[in-house]
C-alpha cells in the first residue's frame, strides 16, 4: 500500500516536471535591434557580407595602386589612366551582390585620385538617353553634345569563386577573388590581383 502510494507520488512529480518543461518551452525569443558602426565586423551566418566586400575592395585597390602599371601609364601619357569596369563573374555558391562589390572597388579607386572611372556598359545607355533628351528639350547653351565620351584605357574584370567543404555541421568556405586590369588596346593584362578568404562555420548539433 505504502509502496504503491510512493510510486503514485513519484509519478505525479514526474507529471509536474513534464508540465513545467512544457511550460518553459513556451518561452519565446524577443527581437532586439542595436545600431552599430558600419565598420564593425558582423559575421552572423558565415556567408559573404558587407565586411568581406569592403575589406577585399580596400586590399585589392591598395595592391593595384602599388604596382608599376599605373606609374608606367601616367609617365608615358602624362595623364591618369581611364578605367571601365567589365564583368565580375559570380562563380560562387552564394548569391553575392556583385554590384555592391564593384561599387566598393570603384569608390576606392576613384578616391585614390590616381585613376578616372567611366560609366560601365549598363550605365552608359541611361546617360546617352539623357543626352538625346537634352538635345530635344534642354536650352541650347546647356545641351551636352554627343561624341565627347572618354574612351577607357583599361578594363577591370574578374571573378568571385568559392570552394565549399562540409561535414558534421562544420563548413569550410574558401573564397577566391581574382581581378585583372586588361589594356583595351593590346589585350595585355597589366595587373592581376588575388585575395583569398577562408572561413570555418561550426554549428552545434544540440542545444537546450
Amino acid at each position: 500500500m505504502g509502496s504503491s502510494m510512493r510510486s503514485g507520488q513519484c509519478c505525479s512529480n514526474v507529471a509536474v516536471l513534464v508540465l513545467v518543461l512544457i511550460g518553459l518551452s513556451g518561452c519565446g525569443a524577443e527581437t532586439k535591434v542595436t545600431r552599430v558602426d558600419e565598420g564593425v565586423v558582423t559575421d552572423l551566418s558565415g556567408r559573404w557580407n558587407d565586411t568581406d566586400s569592403r575589406m577585399v575592395a580596400e586590399t585589392m585597390v591598395k595592391e593595384a595602386l602599388e604596382y608599376p602599371w599605373l606609374n608606367n601609364f601616367s609617365q608615358s601619357k602624362r595623364r591618369q589612366p581611364v578605367v571601365v569596369v567589365g564583368t565580375v563573374m559570380n562563380n560562387s555558391h552564394e548569391h553575392i551582390s556583385v554590384q555592391t562589390f564593384v561599387t566598393d572597388l570603384e569608390r576606392e579607386l576613384t578616391n585614390s585620385q590616381k585613376v578616372t572611372f567611366v560609366a560601365a556598359k549598363n550605365e552608359r545607355d541611361e546617360v546617352r538617353t539623357e543626352r538625346k533628351e537634352q538635345a530635344m528639350y534642354a536650352r541650347e547653351d546647356t545641351q551636352k553634345s554627343p561624341g565627347k565620351e572618354i574612351g577607357a584605357d583599361y578594363m577591370m574584370k574578374g571573378t568571385i569563386a568559392t570552394i565549399l567543404d562540409e561535414a558534421d555541421g562544420t563548413k569550410a568556405m574558401f573564397y577566391q577573388i581574382d581581378l585583372q586590369m586588361v589594356d583595351l588596346e593590346s589585350n595585355a593584362k597589366v595587373w592581376y590581383g588575388q585575395k583569398k578568404i577562408k572561413k570555418v562555420i561550426e554549428k552545434k548539433r544540440t542545444v537546450f
Binding site: M5, C11, A15, L21, N90, H93, T162, K203, V207
Partner: protein, 487 residues
C-alpha cells in the same frame, strides 16, 4: 457541529465533475485538430489555371502553418509563386526556407522533449532530403526564367554541394543519396550558360544516378540525356568517353554543338499530377482482455472512418484506460493520368516543331523511398512515446487517487485517468507534413529551334489542346517553359 468531511466531499464532487468536463473538452479539442483543406482549394485553383489564387490560398493560411512549419510554408508558396510567374518572390520565400533548414541543423532538447510527450508535429518541419534539393531546383528554374544565368548556376553549385554532403552522410548505397533529375537540370543550366565542361560532369553524374536508382526510382535514363552526353563529350574531345557512350547508345540521334550554335533552345518542364499525401495509420494496442474486446468492437464499427472517430476513440480508450495508441504515417499516392505530353512550337512562318516530354523525376517514388527509409525510426519513437505517455497517465491517475483517498479517490482517479489517458490517445498523431504543392512527376523536353517567335500549344496524350503561350528566342538563348498539369 461542523462536518468537514461533507464539505470536502462536496468540494471534491464539484471538482471531479469539473475535471471530467474539462477532460472531455480538452480531448475533443485535441482530437479535432484535423488536416487542413487548403490543398484541396489549391488543387482546384491550379486545375482552373488560376495560379495567383492558388498562391493566395497558401498565403492566407500562413498562420495555420505555424512557426513549426515555416519551411513547409516556404516550399508550398515557392511552387505556387513559380506557377504564377512571380519568380523573384518565389526565390525570396524559397531562400528563407533554405536558410531555415540550415538553422534547423541545431536541435533543441526542449522542442524534442515536448514532441516526445505529444507528437512529431511539434518538431520543426525541415523536409525530406529530396524536398530540400527541390528547393534549389525550383530556384534554379526561377533564375533561368528571369534570364539570370549566373544566379541559376549558383543554385546548380548548391545542388552539387548538398548532394555531395548527402552522399557522405548516407552510407547505404541503395538509399536516396543523389538526384538524377537535379544533376541533369544542373548540366542543362551549365551548358546553356556556355560551360560545357561542367555540363558534361553534371550529365555524367545524372546518368550514373539514374542508373543507380533505377530499381526504386521508377525513372529510367531520359533519352535526351544520352544525346547530351554524346554532344558534350564530342565537343570536349573526350574521345574515350565519346566512344563508350556511342557503344552504350547506338540508336541515339544527336547534333553537335557546332550545329546548334545558330539555334535557340527551348526547355519544357512539365509538373504532372499531385505529390502524395500522408495519412495517419493508427495502431491500437490493448494491454488487457477487456481492452482487446473494446478495440475489436470499436474497429468493427469505425474502421472505414478512423480519422473522423478520433474524438470518440480518445474518450472510449481514455475511460477504459488499457489501450495504447500508436500513430504512423502512411503514404497515399495521387498518380498522374498523363504519361507523356506533346508540345507544339508553331513559328510565325514555317513548319511547327513538335516535342514529346519524358519522365525525369518520379516524386512519389522519392517520397515512398524517404518514408520507408525513416519508418523504422518513426515506429520505434512512436511506440516509446506511447509507452511513456501511458505510464505517465497511469502514474498521474494512481497519484491522484491516493492523494484524495477515501470514497472519492476512485472518482478522482477516473477523472484524471480519462483526462491523461484520453490526452495520450488524442494527442497521438503522426507527422503528415510534406511538400504537397509538388507534382507527382516532373517531365522534361529539350529542343533547338530557329530563332524567332513561337506559339506553344500543349496537347496532353489523353486529349486535345490545353494551353497556349508565346515565346521569343534568339540564337544561343534558352527559353524555359514551365507548365502545370494537375490531372
Amino acid at each position: 457541529v461542523s462536518r468537514p468531511t461533507d464539505h470536502a466531499s462536496a468540494r471534491w464532487g464539484v471538482c471531479v465533475s469539473g475535471q471530467i468536463s474539462t477532460a472531455f473538452i480538452l480531448i475533443l479539442l485535441l482530437a479535432g485538430c484535423g488536416p487542413s483543406n487548403r490543398y484541396i482549394l489549391v488543387d482546384d485553383k491550379i486545375l482552373a489555371s488560376d495560379y495567383q489564387q492558388a498562391d493566395a490560398v497558401i498565403q492566407k493560411a500562413e498562420d495555420e502553418y505555424g512557426s513549426k512549419s515555416r519551411v513547409l510554408y516556404g516550399m508550398d508558396r515557392g511552387m505556387t509563386l513559380q506557377l504564377a510567374g512571380e519568380y523573384q518572390q518565389s526565390n525570396a520565400v524559397l531562400e528563407q526556407a533554405e536558410e531555415e533548414i540550415d538553422r534547423l541543423y541545431t536541435r533543441h532538447i526542449r522542442t524534442e522533449s515536448f514532441a516526445f510527450v505529444t507528437n512529431d508535429n511539434s518538431l520543426p518541419f525541415e523536409g525530406e532530403p529530396y524536398e530540400q534539393i527541390m528547393i534549389n531546383v525550383l530556384k534554379a528554374l526561377n533564375y533561368a526564367s528571369l534570364n539570370q544565368w549566373q544566379d541559376a548556376l549558383v543554385e546548380a553549385r548548391r545542388i552539387d554541394h548538398h548532394l555531395n554532403v548527402l552522399a557522405d552522410r548516407t552510407k547505404d548505397k541503395t538509399a536516396y543519396r543523389d538526384d538524377g533529375f537535379a544533376r541533369y537540370l544542373s548540366g542543362i543550366l551549365y551548358e546553356s550558360a556556355g560551360d560545357v565542361n561542367n555540363a558534361f560532369i553534371a550529365y555524367r553524374k545524372a546518368y550514373e544516378t539514374f542508373e543507380a536508382m533505377r530499381s526504386w526510382s521508377r525513372t529510367g535514363v531520359p533519352v535526351q540525356l544520352r544525346a547530351d552526353l554524346l554532344r558534350t563529350t564530342d565537343a570536349l574531345h573526350l574521345t574515350q568517353e565519346f566512344r563508350e557512350y556511342q557503344q552504350l547508345f547506338p540508336e541515339t540521334a544527336w547534333k553537335s554543338i557546332h550545329e546548334l550554335q545558330e539555334l535557340a533552345q527551348v526547355l519544357v518542364i512539365s509538373y504532372n499530377g499531385r505529390a502524395p499525401r500522408k495519412e495517419d495509420q493508427f495502431l491500437d494496442l490493448p494491454i488487457s482482455l477487456d481492452a482487446l474486446q473494446l478495440v475489436l468492437i470499436n474497429q468493427g464499427f469505425s474502421q472505414a472512418t478512423r480519422q473522423q472517430h478520433r474524438a470518440a476513440d480518445s474518450v472510449l480508450y481514455g475511460l477504459n484506460g488499457r489501450v495504447v495508441r500508436v500513430a504512423l504515417p502512411k503514404l497515399v499516392s495521387q498518380k498522374t493520368q498523363v504519361p507523356v505530353d506533346t508540345v507544339t512550337l508553331s513559328p510565325e512562318q514555317g513548319a511547327p516543331v513538335t516535342v514529346r516530354t519524358e519522365l525525369a523525376q518520379d516524386v512519389t517514388a522519392l517520397a515512398d523511398k524517404a518514408l520507408s527509409e525513416r519508418m523504422a525510426g518513426i515506429a520505434t519513437k512512436a511506440v516509446a512515446r506511447a509507452a511513456f505517455k501511458f505510464s505517465l497517465a497511469e502514474g498521474a491517475t494512481r497519484g491522484a487517487e491516493h492523494a484524495v483517498g477515501g470514497e472519492y479517490g476512485p472518482w478522482v482517479g477516473l477523472a484524471v485517468g480519462l483526462l491523461t489517458k484520453g490526452f495520450a490517445v488524442a494527442s497521438e498523431e503522426s507527422d503528415k507534413r510534406s511538400w504537397r504543392t509538388l507534382p507527382d512527376e516532373i517531365h522534361l523536353a529539350r529542343t533547338w529551334v530557329s530563332p524567332g517567335i513561337y506559339r506553344l500549344q500543349r496537347a496532353a496524350a489523353s486529349g486535345g489542346a490545353v494551353s497556349n503561350k508565346t515565346i521569343s528566342v534568339r540564337a544561343g538563348e534558352t527559353a524555359i517553359v514551365i507548365q502545370r498539369v494537375i490531372q
